[in-house]
Amino acid sequence: MFCSIKSPTERRYVIRMWVSAGLCVLFSVVAALVFRFYHPHGVFSYLAAVLPALPIIGALVYTGVYLAEEKDEFQRNLLVQSLLGGTGGILAVTTTWSYLEDFAHAPHLDLVWVYPLFWLFAGISYGFVRARYR
């Protein structure tokens, strides 16, 4: 699956992102089970709740590491522009949604959706940025 990626830097990045995603799912399940069956309190409850966020923070760090390691300037620029597009998209959506929540009583958007939405916007931007360079 990963052998088709020729650049070792990109391959490392893709593998790390998949591992992070897997750990995030695993830790989310663990945290949900812990809260369902053990009803933790105090510091332990905070640690259990934050557990699924750790692989996500790892994924963000790996993205930075990839940008620092990637030798191919074109690929790096593609990702940078997509990430900036994703940043703009998520900031626009969260701000708009927040005012709709406050003033027009739109349903609450949970903060955990911010990260996947960011990557969704980055993915959409990636398509546009790639098309620009064709």
């Binding site: 934050v50 900036l84 703009g88 900031l91 927040s98 955990v112 911010v114």
Partner: protein, 134 residues
């Protein structure tokens, strides 16, 4: 103090930014004033709620325009890198807070705070990034 005004892209950015913030202030005051007094509903409520957010979206567009117009590669690189760091830190805080909200029920973070939080992180990382290039 006068130095940024010598740069055409920076001057344009400042004017556009200030215009967007002026619109934001007017629209926000209008929304805060109108909702408790006239209790708008339906389409009008959505329009009034979205107006301040549109000014924030304009700020995001203004930053994008600045990045495309800025000729000084150093300035552009520093801003892009600080924005990427700011995005990473914002995503980390949102995800961590999101899981704490979900599992422990800590107070919800208002979504409109994500935008200023992002810029606070950008401001925090800017001197670090500039010192890297000294």
């Amino acid at each position: 103090m006068n130095q940024p005004f010598k740069n055409l892209a920076m001057r344009r950015y400042l004017y556009r930014f200030l215009a967007s913030i002026a619109f934001y202030t007017v629209f926000l005051v209008a929304a805060v004033w109108a909702f408790p007094r006239y209790h708008p509903t339906g389409f009008l409520a959505y329009v009034l709620a979205i107006l301040p957010a549109l000014a924030i979206v304009a700020v995001i567009v203004v930053v994008g325009l600045y990045l495309t117009e800025e000729k000084d590669e150093f300035q552009r690189t520093v801003l892009i890198q600080t924005m990427l760091c700011g995005m990473g830190a914002t995503m980390a805080v949102c995800t961590g807070w999101g899981f704490l909200e979900l599992f422990i029920g800590i107070p919800a973070l208002k979504l409109y705070l994500i935008f200023p939080m992002f810029w606070a992180f950008v401001g925090f990382f800017t001197p670090m990034m500039q010192s890297r290039y000294r």
